[in-house]
C-alpha cells in the first residue's frame, strides 16, 4: 500500500518542472533538502548526479538557459539524487523533439545501467516502451486495467532495429489495436537491479 510521497520514490514529470529561480545545481540540491546526509555528502551527490545526466558545466545555469532536452536531464538528475528505490517517469520525453527523444532514451538506458533501480515509465510511444522496458504492460481504458504484458529479454544496450524488438513492437501494436482506438497506454517497466 502506498500513501503519499516518499524519498524512496523519485519522479520525473512530463515537463521538467525545474524551479526557474534556482540554478540546475540548486534545483537538484532541493531534492536532498530532507535527506539524512551531511552538507558535504549532499554537495557530492548533487555534483555526481549532474555529471551522470551529462550536464557538467551547466550546474550554475538557470532553467531558461537550457534546451528542452537539457532541462529534462536536470529533472532526471533531481529525480535520482535521493537514490530512490523506484523512479517513476510520466511520459518524460513526450514533449521533446524526435531526435532529442531518441538521444535521451539511449541516455536513460545508460543511467539505468549505472543506477540499477526499478523504473516505471509511462508512455504513448510503443517504440520507446519496447526499447527501454524489460516488461511492457499495455493498459486499457475505462475502466483502467492491465490488458497485456510482454516480456523483453533482449540484451542491452539495445538497438531499435533488433529483430526481437521489432517482433515485440509489432505484437504490442496489435494488442493496442485490440484494446480499442481511444488512447490505450503502454507502460514499460525497467528491470530490477
Amino acid at each position: 500500500m502506498i500513501a503519499g510521497t516518499s524519498l524512496d520514490r523519485g519522479i520525473v514529470f512530463q515537463e521538467p518542472r525545474l524551479f526557474p529561480w534556482a540554478t540546475v545545481s540548486q534545483n537538484v540540491a532541493l531534492g536532498l533538502k530532507n535527506a539524512p546526509l551531511g552538507e558535504r555528502a549532499k554537495r557530492e551527490a548533487v555534483a555526481a548526479h549532474i555529471a551522470l545526466v551529462g550536464l557538467d558545466g551547466f550546474a550554475q545555469a538557470y532553467p531558461h538557459q537550457l534546451s528542452g532536452g537539457m532541462a529534462q536531464r536536470a529533472a532526471i538528475a533531481r529525480g535520482l539524487v535521493n537514490r530512490p528505490r523506484l523512479l517513476l517517469l510520466d511520459e518524460p520525453f513526450g514533449a521533446l523533439d524526435a531526435l532529442t527523444r531518441a538521444r535521451l532514451q539511449v541516455e536513460l538506458q545508460r543511467i539505468w545501467a549505472h543506477e540499477r533501480i526499478t523504473m516505471i515509465l509511462v508512455t504513448h510511444d510503443v517504440d520507446e516502451a519496447v526499447l527501454l522496458g524489460d516488461r511492457v504492460i499495455v493498459l486499457a481504458p475505462r475502466p483502467g486495467r492491465v490488458s497485456r504484458i510482454f516480456e523483453t529479454s533482449a540484451p542491452r544496450p539495445r538497438s531499435r532495429t533488433d529483430d526481437d524488438l521489432v517482433r515485440i513492437r509489432n505484437a504490442v501494436l496489435r494488442a493496442l489495436g485490440d484494446a480499442g482506438e481511444d488512447g490505450p497506454e503502454a507502460a514499460p517497466i525497467g528491470g530490477l537491479g
Partner: protein
C-alpha cells in the same frame, strides 16, 4: 532561386569579420535603443514646457494661477537654501516611511496567511474587502476622533492605504504559485516552512512587489490627504497653504518634490525586485 544565388546566400562569410560586425552592430543598437527610449521619455516635457513658458510669458493665465517656470525654479532654490523645503520633506518622508513600513509588514503577513490558507481567506476576505472599499480619506474623520490629530493619525491612515494593495497582491500572488511547483516540493517531502522558503515566496516575488509598489504610491496619496486635513507641516500642508495664499509657485514646488521622491522610492523597490529576480536578468531589459 537559382543555384548560384543559393550558393552565395549559403556561403559562410569570413567569420571574424562577421563577428566583429555583429558586435559593433550590437553596441550601436543598444545605444540607439537607449537614445530612442530617452527620446520618448522627453516628448511630453518637450511639448508642455515650451507651452508653459510661452503661455505665462504672454499672460494667458493670471500669475496667481499659473506662475512662470522660472519663478517656480526661483522659489525652489529659495526654499532649498532656507532649509524650509528639507524640513517639510523630512516630516513627510518620516510619516510615509513609518506608515508604509507598518502597513506593508501587516499586509505581507495578512496577505501570506490569506494566500496560504483557504480557511483564513474565507474568514477574513469579506471584512478586508469592506475595509478596502472605504478610501483612506474617508477613515480620517473617525480616526481623528480616536487618535487626535497627532502623528499617530497620519501614520495609521498611511499604513491603511499601503496595507490594502499589499494584501491583495500578496494573497493573489501566493495563491497563484503553480500547483506543479508545489507538487515537486511535496515529492521531496518539504515541510510547510521549506515550501514557503523555496517554492511559494520565490514564485510570488513579482506580484508581491507589484503590491509593495502600489502600496507606496497609495501611501504618498494618503500622506497628502491627511496633511491637507490635519497638519501644520509637511509637503501636503505646503500644498494647501500655498493654494490658500495663492502662492502657486510653492504649490508647484511641493508637487515637484512629491513627484521626485515618489519616483525615487519606486525605483528603489524596482531595484530590490530585480535583485531578487536575478535569474531573469537575461530576459528583462
Amino acid at each position: 532561386m537559382s543555384d548560384a544565388a543559393l550558393r552565395t546566400t549559403l556561403e559562410p562569410r569570413i567569420p571574424a569579420l562577421a563577428g566583429l560586425r555583429r558586435i559593433s552592430l550590437r553596441i550601436g543598437e543598444a545605444a540607439f535603443r537607449r537614445l530612442v527610449k530617452l527620446g520618448w521619455l522627453l516628448i511630453l516635457p518637450a511639448v508642455t514646457l515650451p507651452i508653459w513658458i510661452v503661455g505665462t510669458g504672454h499672460g494667458w493665465l493670471p500669475e496667481q494661477i499659473l506662475p512662470r517656470p522660472q519663478d517656480v525654479l526661483h522659489t525652489l532654490r529659495d526654499m532649498i537654501a532656507s532649509g524650509e523645503l528639507a524640513q517639510h520633506a523630512g516630516y513627510s518622508l518620516r510619516r510615509v516611511a513609518f506608515g508604509f513600513a507598518i502597513g506593508a509588514t501587516a499586509g505581507l503577513i495578512a496577505g501570506s496567511a490569506m494566500g496560504l490558507s483557504r480557511r483564513v481567506d474565507d474568514y477574513v476576505r469579506p471584512l478586508f474587502t469592506a475595509i478596502a472599499q472605504v478610501p483612506a480619506l474617508a477613515w480620517i474623520p473617525l480616526a481623528m476622533l480616536l487618535l487626535g490629530i497627532g502623528e499617530g493619525l497620519k501614520i495609521v491612515v498611511i499604513a491603511k492605504a499601503a496595507f490594502v494593495p499589499v494584501v491583495m497582491n500578496t494573497s493573489a500572488g501566493i495563491a497563484n504559485v503553480p500547483k506543479a511547483f508545489v507538487e515537486v516540493g511535496e515529492t521531496f517531502r518539504f515541510t510547510p516552512l521549506q515550501m514557503l522558503r523555496h517554492v511559494v515566496l520565490p514564485g510570488s516575488v513579482p506580484p508581491i512587489f507589484t503590491g509593495l509598489r502600489y502600496g507606496l504610491t497609495h501611501a504618498w496619496i494618503a500622506l497628502v490627504s491627511v496633511e491637507l486635513l490635519a497638519s501644520s507641516e509637511g509637503l501636503g500642508y505646503l500644498l494647501v497653504w500655498g493654494r490658500q495664499m495663492f502662492w502657486l509657485d510653492t504649490v508647484l514646488v511641493a508637487m515637484i518634490v512629491i513627484g521626485v521622491i515618489g519616483f525615487a522610492s519606486d525605483k528603489v523597490l524596482a531595484v530590490i525586485e530585480a535583485r531578487l529576480q536575478r535569474w531573469r536578468i537575461d530576459d528583462v531589459r
